[in-house]
């Protein structure tokens, strides 16, 4: 049975120490789509992402994964459906790239199991997809920011998830690696029917890559839908206080945004 909405939140509220971070957030995400969460700093983007990963203690029935309350899943069961790429990863121990990627198989292993040949093949596939296979023996502590980010994505893919949640996957990368990573992710969404939910900062990345956007401001969804519907001069003025123009990118035919610097 394939649910129509793979991720859904219903009137989701969240507060940190009495301060409201999310206010009545309802989103639905269809399988195989690339969805972006946009919004200014402090809008609640990361909180929303963590809530749909069950990393925070939310109320019952406010987050549904493939139609079932997220609270009814064990952590292990959820790890077979959803994978998470956090905003920054810092590892002080000398694991090899392959060791870190293989950790993605943990939800599928019993307490006394070691990784099988099949597990290693899946990890190799994930490393191939993300272009890290060639340095599989390298130590994780010796990688550049771009390499590490791709390793973390490979680890998430090794979980063979239906949903991949990424928190600003391009934040520490140069423009070449930004495009590289987002293109990898989009291609996976298309070929593997993987559902992507990504917190993004760059509006132009959202316009170029996403099928759907949710624009958050001060904990509320202020606009949602296709990128061209969400990113408009009026909305950008309201949310970011920016004067923008939306144009057509001659290279890709998609929209892009320019803004003034006053």
């Amino acid at each position: 049975m394939r649910e129509n909405n793979v991720v859904q939140t219903k009137n989701l509220d969240w507060a940190y120490n009495g301060t409201k971070v999310l206010d009545d957030v309802s989103i639905t995400i269809k399988p195989g789509t690339f969805t972006g969460i946009l919004g200014p700093n402090g809008a609640g983007k990361t909180t929303l992402l963590k809530l749909v990963l069950n990393l925070l203690d939310n109320e019952k029935d406010s987050v549904l994964i493939t139609g079932k309350d997220i609270k009814t899943y064990s952590r292990k069961a959820l790890a077979k459906i959803e994978a998470y790429v956090p905003q920054s990863v810092k590892i002080d121990f000398n694991f090899t790239v392959e060791q870190v990627v293989l950790m993605g198989r943990t939800p599928f292993l019993g307490r006394f199991d070691r990784e099988s040949g099949e597990d290693i093949e899946i990890a190799e596939w994930a490393m191939q997809e993300t272009g890290v296979l060639k340095f599989r023996e390298k130590l994780i502590t010796h990688l550049s920011g771009g390499e590490l980010q791709r390793v973390v994505i490979a680890r998430a893919l090794t979980q063979e998830p239906a949903i991949l949640a990424l928190d600003e996957p391009t934040s520490h990368l140069d423009i070449h690696h930004q495009i590289n990573i987002l293109s990898i992710i989009r291609s996976l969404a298309k070929r593997k029917n993987l559902t992507i939910l990504a917190v993004l900062h760059d509006v132009n990345h959202a316009l170029e890559y996403c099928d759907n956007l949710f624009l958050l401001d001060q904990g509320k969804i202020v606009n949602s839908g296709s990128p061209e519907k969400v990113i408009t001069p009026g909305v950008m003025k309201d949310v970011y206080n920016l004067n923008v123009e939306i144009k057509k990118n001659p290279f890709t035919g998609n929209l892009y945004m320019v803004h003034d610097y006053t």
């Binding site: 952590r75 959803e82 998470y84 121990f93 694991f95 950790m103």
Partner: protein
């Protein structure tokens, strides 16, 4: 770092080194007993009755069974415990500089002993005297207090800082008690330096059932530590419950450390250095790091204790001094290696 196929060989090699060290430790002392006699005496209970061992002197037999072997066994068990709990604490705190005393266990044990000595505590439990009991209670009690006041281990940093604060507080309390009870000063100071000279079979028999099953459990759950090193959110999203796992790891490694400290005093550096050195050999995977650290800890502590009791015999120096004297330069060497990788 060694690759997978040599890992078993290295493990067997460490095991052989440990067995060799046991024989050497059994041989050395005021009465020199030959290596072959030590081996014959140790395996005599499992030697078939037909084989004659009468050539071995009865005094050697008594020295080995009543004096040296209980001490060796206790040292090996404590060394295993400290090596393993060091590896686990470093994993929990995601910091290769952490050690088993990071939550104030050593200060707690020392405070417990000081309190017990100054009050003239005279309890015994299963043949164990007042000092190990007060040390154990002090150590475990301190960890529990640190855990509770830091918000139940919700985050790592408050746990670490509370441990340091409580540690300083208890050290000050201990100094205060010592200041007003100078007659006990010497005993207390010697205890904190760590020693196995009061070893006996009872202590080994009561420590082993805590430390050995504890290590077994930690080895089984070692994979969770690998995930915890990635960070709390990553580990949770990979299917473990970090808060639960952290509590279990802290609880077991605290019991292991407290048991080791109770029977030997505060022995520094073993729990810090052993996992470090092992990580250089095997890499950071806790599924190998923990069993290797078990052997590494036992070897280092047994070598140190043997040096401590023989180097200026008949006088014995506290083993804690030896581990720190050997350990500190070695640690600096490792640090240097980390700063200037080849």
């Amino acid at each position: 770092m060694i690759s997978g196929k040599y890992k078993k060989t290295v493990f067997l090699l460490l095991l052989l080194i440990l067995l060799g060290t046991i024989v050497i430790a059994g041989s050395l002392g005021s009465a020199r007993i030959s290596f072959s006699d030590v081996i014959k005496i140790i395996i005599s209970p499992i030697t078939p009755a037909g084989i004659e061992n009468n050539v071995i002197k009865e005094t050697s037999r008594i020295i080995i069974w009543k004096i040296r072997l209980p001490r060796i066994v206790l040292t090996v068990i404590a060394g295993m415990g400290l090596g393993v709990s060091g590896a686990v604490f470093q994993g929990i705190f995601r910091n290769p500089m952490a050690n088993p005393y990071i939550l104030g266990i050593s200060s707690g044990a020392a405070f417990g002993v000081t309190l017990g000595m100054t009050m003239g505590l005279q309890v015994t439990f299963l043949g164990i005297g007042a000092i190990p009991i007060s040390a154990f209670i002090g150590a475990v009690g301190t960890s529990v207090i640190v855990y509770l006041i830091s918000g139940g281990g919700r985050d790592i940093l408050p746990l670490l800082l509370s441990g340091i604060a409580i540690g300083f507080f208890l050290s000050a309390m201990m100094s205060l008690l010592m200041y007003f009870n100078r007659s006990q000063l010497e005993n207390i100071v010697y205890w904190t330096m760590g020693s196995f000279n009061a070893s006996n079979w009872q202590k080994a028999a009561i420590t082993a059932p805590v430390i050995l099953p504890g290590i077994f459990f930690l080895i089984i759950f070692a994979r969770d530590l690998n995930l915890m090193v990635l960070g709390e959110d990553s580990a949770n999203s990979l299917g473990i419950s970090v808060r639960k796992s952290r509590l279990v790891f802290l609880l077991i490694s605290t019991l292991i450390t407290a048991s080791a400290v109770a029977v030997s005093g505060v022995i520094g550096f073993v729990g810090l250095i052993v996992p470090h050195a092992i990580r250089i050999i095997t890499g950071p995977d806790h599924r190998t790091l923990i069993p290797y650290s078990m052997l590494g800890g036992a070897i280092l502590l047994l070598v140190s204790d043997t040096i401590a009791r023989t180097i200026i015999a008949p006088t014995e120096i506290p083993v804690g001094i030896v581990t720190s004297l050997l350990g500190a330069p070695f640690f600096l060497f490792l640090l240097n290696r980390m700063r200037h990788p080849k």
